[in-house]
Each structure stands twice: as structure tokens, then as C-alpha cells.
Amino acid sequence: MTLSIQHATKRFGDFKAVDDLSLTVEQGQMHGFLGANGAGKTTSFRMILGLLNPNAGVITWKGKPITYAASPEIGYLPEERGLYPKMKVLDQLVYLAQLRQMPASKAKQEAMVWLERFQVPHYAAKKVEELSKGNQQKIQLIASLLHNPSLLILDEPFSGLDPVNVEMLKKAILDFQKQGATIVFSSHRMDHVEELCDNMTIMDQGKVVVDGSIREVKRSFGKQNVRIKMDVDLSSLKNTVGVVQFTKTHDGALFQINDEATAERLLESSMKLGKLRHFAIEEPSLEEIFISKVGKAYA
């Protein structure tokens, strides 16, 4: 019950969209894809779904390549949204679920449960074009998981949503994972991946830059942050041995350090300067890891 990608490469002419991608997602896990536009996330998803064939490498789900026969088990939310604008919400959901082999009556029942959950049951009989963008997004997500797939692929599920709706959708996705579904999703927002995923892959220009368990990635990054809040100027501490980077903040400073010994040195030095209000050793953020690995800020 695993999704396995082994050395998948996809070329369009001379352009390598995905270069030697390998990963395994165990059943019930959530795997995050991070990367700027054009990094190769969508092409990777299309290869997983069998919409594009890799030029090299093997992709399997439960030990077999994904074909249309597996359609009832797969759920997909494409990045660029699209629903029939003139079709009614409930009709559309039932139609899309039927194409995934779900009986119409059951699809109708389940669709209403989901619409209730997303607090939009009154939109069931409305045409899609009458809905706001955010609400259309909810309908799209329902369409991707209504037929209860065991593998769910979500391309940028939270883009364009307000924070309240992001929380609502996050919770729904987490609950869906708890029921045993394997979920692969991409996001522009690093914090979403950090919050939801066990494992992740950071891609840049088709290549995998970082991958593995998020905890492991952070640990092996080798650098940590020390955040100090004091009312005095801390710039004298930036030359302490082991400090890689110094950033002044409005209420103190943030130090990127190489090892824990440096943290101890910083604690000692800072206490000598005056009253210490706050001292914390923080894990590096994914953003920092991304910038350090890719050499540029995350788009």
C-alpha cells in the first residue's frame, strides 16, 4: 500500500521538467512537495496519475503502475481549478464521483455530508459560477475526495483561501488522512507543509534539493536559531564563535548558530549585558533550509 517513485525523469524536448525523482510514501502518510513555480511539482503529480509517462524511472501504487483501472482509488485536485460553470454544485459533484465509479445515490448522500461540513449546504442547487472563488475551491476539494480515494493528490489546495477557510480545509484533510488515506500535496506555503506533513520533498528546477522526514531534515540541517529578547543592543554578540548569521529584530536579535555550544556561549554573554527577557533555541524554519539549499528566496 505504498506510493513508490523510483528515479523518475521527465523531459519535454531538451527541457528536463523532473530530474531523477525518487520517493516512497507509506499508507496513511502525508507527503508535502515544496518548490517555486516551474520546479516540477505538477509534472511529478501528472506522472504519478499516469497522465504523463516518465522518460525514465518507475512509478507504482500498491506495486502496480497507475492506470484508469485504479481511477476509483485516486483523488486529484488540479492546481488550476475548473468546474463546469453552468452546472449545479450537487449535480457536478455526483457526476465527477460517478466517473470514479461511485454510485449516484451514495455520491449524493456523501456530497451533502461534505457540503454541511464545509458550511455550504445551501449551495447544492446553485450553479458553480454563482459561487465565490473560495467556495468553488471547497467544492473542488469535495470533488477530489468524495469517492473516498485511498490516494489523494492535492496540487496547491490552499491557494486563494482566507485563513478561516484554510483552517477548515486543513482539518478536513487531516481527518481524511486519519481514515487511512495516503496524501501527496504541494503548497507554496512552507508553514502548511511543516504543519501537516510527516515527510517532504523540496524541488528546484526539476531536481530534488531536500527530502525526507521534516524532523530529520531540520536536524541534519546542522544549524539552529537562538532568539534573544533584551532591551540593550546585541550587535556586540555577532562575532561570538559559532555564530553564522546575525539578524537584529525589534525586540532583540536572532542568531543562526552551528552547534549547541555556541548557544551556551551566547547565553553567558547576553546575561552579562543586562536583563534577559527571553532566550530560546529554535529549529530552523523550512524557509531557511530552502534558501540555504537553493540559494534564493522561496517564491
Partner: protein, 415 residues
């Protein structure tokens, strides 16, 4: 197969529920009933037959009116010549009051003088009948005054036997040509419908404001299946619409008591059409529809906005215009080489081969070969179309030109 029928049903119902489809169907059905009942409706406005079309005749001799009636009957006219004792002044008054339609004054002073008086000069139909009958009356009266025997008068009135014959062996008689004319009317109508349907189909896939709903669809169902299910769904609706038209036309005429050969329908020459003609018509309609629908789906999948659809549809419209031009000019010269050649070119065949089948006695293998070529073309276009369809769906942004087909095929080939 399950998903095929779901898409089939969805395309069928979605299209059947559109305002344009419902309005077109209702208008055409209403038009059939209106056409079939036209004479009845006119009668209602003109009053019934017994009262109307009575022509009061002032005939002092008393002999002319019965002969006039006999002539009118011979002409199949519904005008009834009725001798009257009323004076002209009284008759004029009657016309003014609307109790009398018209009257005729017949005077014989060597030659025959006739004066037709009616309320307005617009009643041409009756006046023409009467004029013709008076003309014949004059001939009868003159013949009598010349002392011709009855058989001699009979000879005088024998209609000329006028027949047209075509020398070419493959050409058909005049009678058969009317069949061909009917076919062409019918076929042109159905090809245009086919085109409209295929345009519908194109709009169906092109109108999507947001493109990637297709990506959801092709991740669940193969693009070939999706494309053909959609074409079949909308095509079936087209056939159903034709059946509705046929049935309503039949019912309209049944209820109106008119036959296909009468009234407005006689123009189309339907009276001579054989069952085989209709079978060929249906077959060529289906093939023509599928050919253009596959082409439209192929082009439609490349664009994301309705405005762009128009631009891409232009080459397809040109094909249809050329096919119609060949067919129309082929009516007068069905044996011309360009007609023969065009009848094997799949995009023209639905119209042109049908025209040849209708107007010439060509061996059966010719239409069969043409049908075969069309089937192969549909297959090839379907195979090719599915690639473009898939590639078009996976392409980002909107495309507007035929150059994008290349790009789409490249993407489609990645599968």
C-alpha cells in the same frame, strides 16, 4: 463502459437542457404545424368555402354561366359561378357591405366582353382563375359559332403531350430529378445541422472558462473515451431532434389533413422520395456529423475561451462552405469530374456523394467506397484528436492558433 455512459448521459442532458436547443426544437415543430395548417388558417380568416368564392355572374344570355362553371371546374378552381338577377348597383352595394366578394358581367356582342368587379385589386387568385375560364369560354363560344362538331371542339382542348427525356444513360428522368432535388434539400439541411451540432460540441469543450476541469476528467477517464462519449451523446441528441422533427412533421400533416405532396411541402419534391433515399440521408448525416464533430472536438480542446473558438473554427467552416458550393454547382452538372473527385474527399463526401447517388445511377461500390474512406478518416481523426485533446488539456494558458496543435500533440505523445 460504465463511465462512457455517464459522460454520454451528461453531454446529452446538458445540451438538451440548453435554451438554444429547446427554443430551436419548439420553433421548428411549431413551424411544421403552421405550414401544414396554413391553408386551414387562411380559410379561418377568409371565412368558409360555402360562403366565400361565390362569383355572381350577370349573364343576360343565360347560356354563358354554366359553360363558365364547367371551365372553372376543369381548372380545379373553387370559384363558383352563380347567375344572378341582381342589378349592378345592388351588387356593388353588396360588395361595399361585404356580403359579396366579387361579380362578373358577361356580354356577348360578336366577341365576348367580361368585367370582373371586386372590392380590391388584391384578390388575384380568384381573378386569375376567372380570367382563364373566360378565355376558354371565348374559345368554346367561337368554336360553336364556327359550327365545329363536338369531337372537333374536344380536339381543340386536348392538352399537348410534353415530355422531357435525358439522353445520357446515367442521367435520370425529370421525375427522378425531383427526387434528387428533395434529397439535396434534405441533405443540405441535415449537413448544416450536423455542422451546428459539431459546433455545439466544440463549444462544449471549448467554452469552459476554466480549462483544467478537463484534467480532473482525464485523470478519471481516458481522453479517447471522453471525447467519443461526448460526441456520441450530442450526436444522439441531434438524431433525436431529427426524429422529433420528422414525427411532428408527420403528425402536423395528419392532423391538418394534407399530404406531403401538397401545399408548401410540394416545393421540396418529397412526394417522390424513396425509403432508400432516407436511409442514405441518415447514413450520410451520421458520418458527416461524426467527421465534423471529431474535428471540432480536436480544435475545441485547444482553446479555453469562446472568442478563440470562432477563430479556430474558421478552417472548418471553410470546408463546409466549399462542400456546399460543390454540391450546389453539382446539381446542374452532376457528372462533372470535380463532382466525382469531391465525392471521395471525406469532408465533401456527405453532401457530394449523396448528390451523385441521388441524381445519377452510379454503381453501389462508389458510395460504399466513399463511406469507407469517411470511416477511415473518422478513425484517424479520432486517434489523432485524442492526442491533441489530451495534450491540449495539459497545456497551460490559452492557445489561439493551429500552431498550438503541434505543441498539444507533443504533450499528448508524452503518454
Amino acid at each position: 463502459m460504465h463511465s462512457f455512459w455517464i459522460i454520454f448521459k451528461q453531454s446529452f442532458l446538458t445540451k438538451a437542457k440548453t435554451k438554444s436547443f429547446i427554443i430551436t426544437t419548439v420553433i421548428v415543430v411549431a413551424a411544421f404545424f403552421l405550414l401544414a395548417n396554413l391553408s386551414n388558417i387562411i380559410e379561418i380568416f377568409q371565412g368558409s368555402d360555402e360562403e366565400g368564392n361565390v362569383l355572381h355572374v350577370i349573364d343576360e344570355s343565360g347560356e354563358l354561366a354554366p359553360i363558365l362553371q364547367a371551365q372553372l371546374d376543369q381548372q380545379n378552381s373553387d370559384v363558383q359561378a352563380m347567375p344572378t338577377d341582381m342589378t349592378e348597383a345592388e351588387l356593388k352595394e353588396g360588395i361595399g357591405e361585404g356580403t359579396i366578394d366579387a361579380y362578373l358581367v358577361l356580354e356577348q356582342e360578336g366577341t365576348l366582353n367580361a368585367r370582373y368587379v371586386s372590392e380590391s385589386a388584391n384578390e388575384l387568385g380568384s381573378a386569375n382563375d376567372v380570367e382563364q375560364a373566360v378565355q376558354s369560354l371565348q374559345t368554346v363560344v367561337t368554336a360553336e359559332s364556327l359550327g365545329l362538331s363536338e369531337s372537333e371542339v374536344g380536339q381543340l382542348f386536348t392538352p399537348v403531350a410534353f415530355e422531357r427525356e435525358a439522353i445520357s444513360e446515367s442521367s435520370k428522368s425529370q421525375e427522378e430529378l425531383s427526387q434528387a432535388r428533395a434529397r439535396l434539400h434534405f441533405d443540405l439541411a441535415h449537413l448544416y445541422r450536423g455542422y451546428l451540432l459539431s459546433k455545439y460540441d466544440c463549444d462544449g469543450s471549448g467554452k469552459r472558462e476554466i480549462f483544467r476541469v478537463m484534467e480532473i476528467l482525464i485523470s478519471s477517464v481516458s481522453p479517447v473515451k471522453h471525447m467519443f462519449a461526448k460526441i456520441a451523446g450530442i450526436g444522439t441528441l441531434g438524431i433525436l431532434q431529427m426524429l422529433i422533427f420528422g414525427l411532428s412533421g408527420y403528425l402536423a400533416m395528419k392532423t391538418a389533413g394534407t399530404a406531403l405532396t401538397e401545399g408548401a411541402f410540394s416545393v421540396f419534391g418529397f412526394s417522390d422520395v424513396k425509403i432508400s433515399t432516407f436511409l442514405f440521408a441518415v447514413l450520410f448525416f451520421l458520418l458527416g456529423y461524426f467527421l465534423y464533430a471529431v474535428l471540432a472536438a480536436l480544435l475545441g480542446s485547444l482553446v479555453s475561451r469562446t472568442e478563440d473558438v470562432q477563430q479556430l473554427m474558421l478552417p472548418m467552416m471553410m470546408l463546409i462552405v466549399v462542400a456546399s458550393l460543390i454540391a450546389f454547382s453539382g446539381i446542374s452538372v452532376p457528372e462533372a469530374t470535380f463532382v466525382t473527385v469531391a465525392s471521395y474527399i471525406p469532408f465533401f463526401a456527405p453532401l457530394v456523394m449523396f448528390l451523385r447517388v441521388g441524381m445519377l445511377d452510379i454503381p453501389l461500390w462508389e458510395p460504399l467506397l466513399s463511406i469507407g474512406i469517411m470511416l477511415v478518416t473518422i478513425g484517424l481523426l479520432g486517434w489523432f484528436g485524442a492526442r491533441v485533446y489530451r495534450g491540449g488539456v495539459l497545456m497551460y494558458g490559452s492557445s489561439q492558433s493551429l500552431k498550438d496543435i503541434k505543441k498539444a500533440i507533443r504533450l499528448g505523445n508524452q503518454k
